[in-house]
């Protein structure tokens, strides 16, 4: 009906540009994998030959802990006989400040997720409709249509929609390359900033996810400090999306930008420029609850974001339940530790399995995915067309939905993001077996394509990575064998980290 009338001559009232442009990104070819999965979803018993979903970064490893807590704490929900006496207060509550207990619990949890190395002020916590809403809201607060935000690539594919669609903000990527393991450094940011200014763009700030999506790596403290110093010097904003903060399972501790703000002197950092986006969707595995948080050191931004939070408030009964759950220290400590542990085991299983198939991944210590290197399988190493071809092969022949690097604006073809936390162990084994089978059938083709040089480089890399990985695994295992029960899984004072 609508399509008949829309273009249909004089009678259709026109829609807005936002409603009719493609900036939502859902028509992009990157959804082919999802569409294929929807048509033929894998199920261990019912559809064992279906497509396995490895493109969804969700954390389903610790839902049993949450379930147990909910069952044991009926008072936390207004929907139980024990909790329903709170109903009238909660059902009517729509103050955009949010329940005080909720904000306090979130601030407390955010501190714990960062090992207790930094504290957060509940008055600066602002709600939004999931992290999606939080990223959009912070853009609305900081930038006008046409302004630019620098975003290191590869970056989360949906940023193109979340940061740009309704806000009119532009993204200028800061390209990172495999030559230094995609590490972000200040020089790259400076260069991109300069280039943007030269093309007369109004750069409002820098935004990145740390721990990184899709890389799974964390930024070291020195680089983070230098970035903070840089944005302060140039008087531009810094937004750090720390949605994966508690998914660190190995290696160095996660350093939040909040820690840097605390440690740097007033002359080096202008806190009014620093903002954090957070959510419970990844760390706690609760994307369905739609809890997004904007945390800003800038009072005006907090005030503005708070008014915008009416467009995406967290439902009050969710606030109540989470206030209770996240203030339960014993539960939270145990949860954070278990979650890290299970993620680490799962990550190792995946990377080991991939190694057996001759596939290496970028070394990562966080996140719900790995950044897989399939450059040696490309027909043409410099072509994104080859990457898409390979991707279609993976979807249709190997029957896995992974995400191609180009969907993350990666400048080098051949990288793929593979998620591992949204399935059970059996499914992972099936996936690995499929990869190994496929690789062994096609390994001779691979040998033909790779030049001698490539082979040598690959071998060296594999050796280096093997060494690093085994070292990491060693320290990790020892940590557990010694039965450490500290909430911050990697205590900075632990001597074991030195190995």
């Amino acid at each position: 009906m609508g399509s008949l009338m829309k273009g249909g001559g004089v009678s259709g009232a026109i829609l807005s540009r936002i409603a009719t442009n493609d900036q939502h990104g859902e028509n992009s070819e990157y959804f082919d994998g999802w569409k294929a999965y929807d048509k033929d979803p894998f199920h261990l018993s019912r559809n064992p030959h279906g497509i396995i979903q490895m493109g969804l970064a969700e954390n389903q490893l610790c839902l049993d802990l949450i379930k147990d807590w909910i069952k044991e704490n009926p008072k936390a929900s207004v929907c139980t006989p024990e909790g329903v006496h709170q109903f009238s207060d909660i059902a009517n509550f729509q103050d955009y400040h949010g329940l005080r207990e909720f904000r306090q619990a979130i601030a407390h949890f955010m501190g714990k997720a960062r090992g207790g190395r930094v504290t957060f002020d509940p008055e600066r916590i602002v709600m939004s409709g999931g992290a999606t809403g939080a990223n959009e809201t912070i853009m609305f607060c900081l930038a006008d249509p046409g302004d630019v935000f620098l975003v290191p690539s590869p970056y989360y594919a949906a940023f193109d929609r979340d940061l740009r669609w309704r806000t009119g903000v532009e993204i200028v990527p800061v390209h990172c390359s495999s030559s230094n393991n995609f590490k972000l450094n200040v020089e790259a940011v400076e260069w991109a900033y300069k280039k943007a200014l030269e093309s007369n763009k109004n750069v409002k700030g820098l935004l990145f996810t740390n721990p990184s999506n899709p890389l799974g790596t964390i930024l070291d403290k020195d680089t983070l400090m230098n970035i903070v110093r840089f944005v302060t010097r140039k008087n531009i904003h810094l937004v750090v999306d720390e949605i994966y903060a508690a998914t660190v399972f190995a290696g160095e501790n996660f350093v939040s930008v909040a820690e840097v703000v605390k440690d740097l002197g007033d002359s080096e950092v202008n806190a009014d420029l620093i903002h954090i986006v957070y959510s419970l969707s990844k760390d706690m595995g609760l994307p369905g609850f739609r809890v997004g948080i904007v945390y800003s050191y800038n009072d005006l931004v907090v005030s503005c974001a708070r008014k915008m939070s009416s467009f995406g408030l967290v439902s009050s009964q969710t606030q109540l339940m989470l206030a209770s759950m996240l203030s339960d220290d014993q539960f939270v400590d145990n949860f954070l530790m278990e979650s890290s542990r299970r993620l680490g085991i799962r990550h190792d299983a995946l990377t080991l399995g991939l190694k057996k198939a001759g596939i290496t991944c970028l070394i990562s210590t966080a996140g719900l995915f790995v950044w897989m290197d399939l450059r040696h399988l490309l027909r043409n190493r410099n072509s994104f067309k080859s990457e898409i071809e390979l991707w279609h092969i993976i979807i249709n022949k190997v029957k896995l939905n992974v995400s191609p690097g180009s969907s993350f604006q990666c400048t080098e073809p051949g990288w793929f993001r593979v998620c591992f936390a949204n399935m059970d162990d059996d499914t992972l084994h099936v996936a690995l077996r499929r990869i190994q089978d496929f690789m062994s059938k096609n390994s001779n083709k691979v040998a033909e394509k790779a030049s001698n040089n490539d082979q040598i480089i690959q071998n060296n890399n594999a050796k280096k990575q093997k060494w690093k990985q085994s070292n990491l695994r060693l320290s990790f295992r020892r940590l557990y064998e010694d039965g450490l029960s500290s909430p911050g899984i990697m205590s900075p004072h632990s001597p074991l980290l030195r190995t």
């Binding site: 009232a13 839902l63 009517n92 005006l300």
Partner: protein, 505 residues
């Protein structure tokens, strides 16, 4: 400042080259300077002290070299955020803030400010509470096939089967049962506020405008104008028509807008109306639809109070019914859109439930994608499916809800009548539109705002003045009565009497 140098004369190398290029250059620079000054007035300096109640307490304040007001690099935020440095100037928000400082409590704070500025109902909480405690634990926790508690069903992000159908059925009942709603035309959002904003984003571009009969709900200023950049053009209605909009008024407003160069994309109105509470007749709705058809613009009907109708002789008619009843050739129904939500009718504002119902499939499709920014949490979806499918309870609830509003309305209006204060005729909503012009010291906006302040500080009542609702006749106030207990009403009347006495002497 962008330095764009017109090079034409220079490049073409004609005679008189120097002067020929210099003068246009100078003129051009001066023009840019002028435009820049006009376009961006310098942001207001932030208030030097932070003790106004609307600002946040400054906790970990860092007095650094870089804080606002100092010379080095003032931090630039977006042009939307900058005006928010000032405290709100609409009486609607000012009143709400003041109540927070000294809220009335029957037991612990009998001298506090009584809240009549928030359209919420607590009249039927007992029914809801009982339903929740009897029904909810199972539906929230168990799987639909009864196989036991699986938390992934509420923790994971997925839309729930059956929610749209349950909602469509519920809307049909609420709106009189004379029209059915098609679930495929519905998009569910996290509240009525995002529903209105998302619809606005879909129907109009930045700088376009909606016509809106006034007096109108003050919250629309923020919900619609804030991030979309869409203008709201009030179409003034008069007490002589009981504040019902007329086509001639719409016509006049549209023409004036066009003369100013504004592009009008649609008409937005509430039915039952807010703040007046009148119910638009079938004829009026038809006339609005014809007008929109003729001018080729959208119609947005905010029907969020549809289930809160208490007038005995008034029948609520949804725009969907008008569309369904008209012959198929008359209107292009893809221009009709309806907003709904559970915050008023079911008294569940905290749950955040809103609906966009549109006959335009591209709008539905775009709104579904925009819903990512304000989607309904899964546990709430679960609760709602149970709640809305319990038709027996819904019937019982709606009957009680209407009756209780009717009773409370009667008490409130009677009380005011005793004081010689009349109200506009209304048949729906959670409030009444009160004519307090007899208490004004001067029949003007200034007089009305003075009365508003007197009500807050002397009578200790927060009522929303007509100015905040863009009403052109001074002296009207919106008073919401559905969160009051019967014994609160005489207290309110006593307090208003305090104000009435001095002005009659």
């Amino acid at each position: 400042m962008r330095l764009i140098v017109p090079l034409q004369g220079v490049v073409q190398g004609r005679g008189g080259l120097f002067v020929g290029s210099l003068i246009p250059c100078c003129l051009f620079y001066f023009l840019q300077l002028y435009l820049k000054r006009r376009r961006s007035p310098p942001p207001p300096p932030p208030p030097p002290d932070s003790d106004s109640s609307s600002e946040l307490p400054r906790t970990s304040s860092r007095s650094s070299l870089f804080t606002r007001g100092n010379s080095i690099g003032r931090v630039r935020v977006s042009s939307r955020a900058a005006p928010l440095a000032k405290p709100p100037d609409s009486p609607y928000y000012i009143g709400l803030e003041r109540v927070k400082t000294d809220p009335y409590d029957r037991v612990t704070n009998r001298d506090g400010i009584i809240q009549l500025g928030l359209a919420e109902s607590t009249l039927c909480f007992d029914l809801l509470q009982r339903w929740m405690s009897e029904n909810l634990m199972d539906s929230l926790m168990m799987q639909s096939d009864g196989s036991g508690f699986d938390v992934s069903t509420i923790a994971m992000y997925q839309p729930f089967e059956g929610l749209l159908e349950a909602f469509a059925d519920f809307m049909s009942r609420i709106m009189g049962g004379n029209v059915s709603f098609d679930p495929s035309n519905m998009v569910i959002t996290a509240g009525g506020t995002p529903a209105v904003e998302v619809l606005a984003f879909c129907l109009a571009d930045h700088g376009n405008a909606f016509l809106i009969p006034s007096p109108y709900y003050p919250g629309f200023d923020r919900d619609i104008k804030f991030r979309t950049g869409i203008e709201l053009i009030p179409v003034h209605c008069r007490s002589s028509d009981n504040f019902t909009v007329t086509v001639s008024a719409l016509e006049q407003a549209l023409n004036q807008a066009r003369k100013r160069g504004s592009k009008v994309s649609g008409i937005l109105f509430s039915n039952p109306s807010n703040p007046v509470g009148n119910i638009l007749s079938r004829e009026t709705l038809h006339a609005i639809l014809s007008f929109a058809q003729e001018k080729n613009i959208h119609v947005i009907s905010d029907e969020i109070f549809a289930g809160s109708v208490y007038g005995v002789d008034k029948e609520f008619v949804s725009m969907a019914e008008v569309v369904a009843a008209s012959a198929s050739g008359d209107f292009d129904k893809s221009r009709v859109h309806i907003i709904y939500g559970l915050s008023k009718d079911l008294s569940l504002p905290g749950f955040r439930t809103g609906v966009i119902y549109s006959f335009h499939e591209d709008v539905v499709s775009a709104a579904k994608k925009l819903m990512r920014f304000s989607s309904m949490p899964v546990p709430v979806q679960r609760i709602l499916i149970s709640l809305l499918s319990d038709t027996r309870f819904i019937e019982e609830y709606m009957a009680a809800h209407r009756q209780r509003i009717r009773d409370k309305h009667f008490l409130f209006v009677e009380g005011l009548k005793q004081l010689g204060i009349p109200c506009a005729e209304s048949g729906g909503g959670l409030y009444c539109w009160v004519d307090m012009s007899s208490l004004l010291t001067s029949y003007s906006e200034k007089g009305e705002l003075e009365l508003f302040e007197k009500l807050l500080s002397v009578a200790k009542i927060n009522a929303t003045p007509g100015t905040a609702c863009y009403c052109i006749e001074p002296g009207w106030f919106r008073c919401c009565f559905t969160a009051l207990a019967d014994e609160d009403i005489p207290v309110i009347m006593e307090r208003i009497k305090l104000l009435a006495e001095p002005s009659t002497s």
